[in-house]
């Protein structure tokens, strides 16, 4: 039984000839991400800044202008009203109310009073500013420590800090550009976004480790190649696997984005970006970094 789909096995791209282009591309991506995060800021969800979120499904699409005017009349400070998935599903976000917790509950009550009786409240969330700050710190810590743990593990397993650092720089590249992706698209940045970032980090490092593993193997096996050529050979040999796994993961993600519902769609879109950028960095960035960081193997001619 022969496979119906047959992707060629013998890749022989010269990734190092375009090394400078990919480095420049990545640096531009990173700079763009930083600029967008600073200029446009992240669209923080209430998880991180505190506030109230009401997800309400109406029996028929409401007039957003009237709704806006009604909410405006409540004078609850900054608010945001948007469609969520369908025109009859509305997301109302209100900033944290001055005063203690009872003021927040009051605000929720007030909004409920101006909405029609038969509205289906899909989600009501309130996060106090104290918790928001804690979650921010915790999220940052989780990303930082996972990068640190990955660095240490790879360093030990691969017998060279250049491997560890190369992999981690590639992952940091993915993390920064993913955060930039959130800033550019203005997809809400919430707890699930941290989950997406960590999963992307895990996915990307997985890809990178597979390439590094082949490099490690080739160093002991292949003697007649320059180090650059050896790196290039390793990337090419693992390329069909890298593409295959990215494809199956993307297939699963596509199923989730189309059918998985609105609640997790931001998370899934970020994941799709992450798989693409993670695959890119494993192929074009990670291995190049090892030679750039000055790893010397015995056949480094």
């Amino acid at each position: 039984m022969k496979p119906i789909l047959n992707i060629s096995q013998n890749f022989n791209f010269n990734f190092f000839s375009i090394r400078n282009i990919s480095f420049v591309f990545s640096i531009i991506l990173i700079l763009l991400s930083i600029v967008f995060v600073l200029k446009k800021n992240l669209n923080f969800g209430i998880d991180f800044i505190g506030g109230i979120m009401i997800d309400a499904k109406f029996t028929s699409p409401p007039d957003l202008d009237i709704l806006r005017a009604d909410i405006n009349n409540l004078s609850l400070g900054n608010y945001e009203i948007q469609e969520f998935g369908s025109p009859d599903n509305i997301l109302i976000k209100i900033e944290k109310q001055p005063g203690d917790e009872s003021k927040q509950l009051e605000a929720i009550k007030k909004v409920k009073e101006i909405l029609p009786e038969n509205v289906d409240y899909r989600r009501i969330e309130y996060v106090g500013p104290k918790v928001g700050k804690e979650l921010k710190v915790m999220g940052f810590k989780a990303v930082f420590f996972s990068l640190l743990a990955m660095f240490i593990y790879i360093w030990f397993r691969f017998d060279g800090w250049q491997f560890g650092l190369g992999a981690v720089i590639a992952v940091i590249h993915d993390v920064i550009t993913t955060v930039g992706f959130f800033a550019i698209t203005q997809i809400e940045f919430n707890l699930a976004s941290i989950a997406a970032i960590l999963t992307i980090a895990g996915y990307s490092i997985n890809d990178t480790v597979v390439v590094f593993d082949r490099i490690r193997e080739n160093i002991t096996k292949v003697n007649d190649l320059s180090f650059i050529k050896l790196l290039n050979k390793s990337i090419n040999e693992t390329l069909s696997r890298t593409i295959m796994t990215s494809l199956t993961t993307l297939i699963a993600l596509m199923a989730l984005i189309v059918l998985g519902g609105q609640v997790i769609s931001g998370f899934i879109i970020a994941m799709i970006w992450g798989v693409l950028i993670g695959t890119y960095s494993s192929i074009f960035i990670a291995a190049s970094l090892i030679s750039l960081l000055g790893y010397k193997s015995k056949n480094n001619k």
Partner: protein, 525 residues
Amino acid sequence: MLIYSNWKIIFVFSICLLSIIFVIPNFYGKSEITSFPAFFPKNQFNLGLDLQGGSHLLLEVDVNSVIKEKSNDIVDDVRVSLRQEKIKYKNLGSKGIGATVTIREKEELNEAIKILRKKLDKEINIEKAEDLKLNFTFSEQKILELNNRTVEQSIEVIRKRVDETGTREPNIQKQGDDRIVVQLPGLKDPERVKSLIGRTAKLNFHLLDPTTVELAKQRGKLPPGTYKVANADPTAYEKEFIVKKRVLLSGDRLKDAAATVEPQSGRYVVAFEFDNRGAKKFAKITTENTFQRLAILLDNSVISAPQIKEPITGGQGNISGNFSPEAANDLAVLLRAGSLPAPIKILEERTVGPSLGLDSIESGKKALIVGLLLVILFMFLKYSLFGIFANIAIIFNLFLIVSTLSLIEGTLTMPGIAGIVLTVGMAVDANVLVFERIKEELLSGRSPINSIDLGYKQAFKTILDANITTLIAALLLFNFGSGPVKGFAVTLSIGIISSMFTALMLTKLLVILWVKKIKPERIHL
């Protein structure tokens, strides 16, 4: 070479069989499961609040208020003791935690310490400071003990209140030093439960001072030993009351409370009953103060101020404020459950309506089935027969995730479902690594059996390293996440581990069995 011992074959197949068995209980209701035979597993995974609907509340207990109260008690105790012994003092007061006093005469200092040591709780430290000043502090252990007790008592009270609302299977747990997580699945009226949970519900009986508010205003000061308290009902005719500070009796002594309708007026009232000691005290109060007005205070506002028409000796009475049926019922619930030892704040609330939960389950199912079918199709197109082997692994991987989740009685959330779907896509990785490796070995001219053997050997280390690094991210996510996100970390972690098992044990076994039977001369990959 390609040898798979019999016990290993049995091991792999038993794991697969067990994974199916452990999935089964999830298809049955809780009551049906109890009728399963004793040997059969009964563990089910739980649905997270985001899937079954319900409320998640994070509460913070103001433990400092208890310390503050205790500090005020010290001030009172010191005042009484020193006055009794006629020791002169000044600057007696408390600044939040602990208290201070300065003794006027140097000769009396040691005497004062001796007396106070005897009077005050052993855990309160008395320290001599400069200029005859004494500091009263709590030992750290005492503070810790007080905090713990306060939080535990709060949990008790909250549990009683939640139980009164008829919420099924609430989960109330301490988190950190001073926080409580309350999870209320399938809640119909979260607002009511929230208002019930959030109230301190301290009920106190005072006497009303005969001085009217108008009179006090004219005089420009309140009578000594009294204070002004607002009416709980802002629409009432009497907006404020002048109440004597002394607490005659508190809600701690209540035995029971219930909302009833007063037959004469048809109004809703809360009937209460004191325990023995409370009843005796209440009888004494009502006998000594007949025709005076009693002020019933709930959390420092007056809910009722009736005149005592006659001594009440039976220990029973009614509170007739201007209650709606719900308000009367809520008050009865609060009085039955008792008051919170300290005020609490709702730091975080997440409520998911039942319709969204159902929609999420529905869309999660669809995404899983479609994702699964597409990946299976793709693997078959790419690897044909070996793709089928890998696909069997994908399906058992799914069983393994669900059965492990059931075994640990974990919680499945919407991100958790996403994690499973994602795992379907990512779990093929280990098999892809092996297959690509086998293909390489075939291309270098090795025999099929040799290639398969080498393929597994070479890919093993890669799979291990690649998966451990991913697992690091998943575990840190578990540590960080709350609720739904944690559910994602759980399914992802289980998925990573089980995918290693299915690829390296199950698929390998299938491949070996196939090779042994067919002895293929060529393999198409």
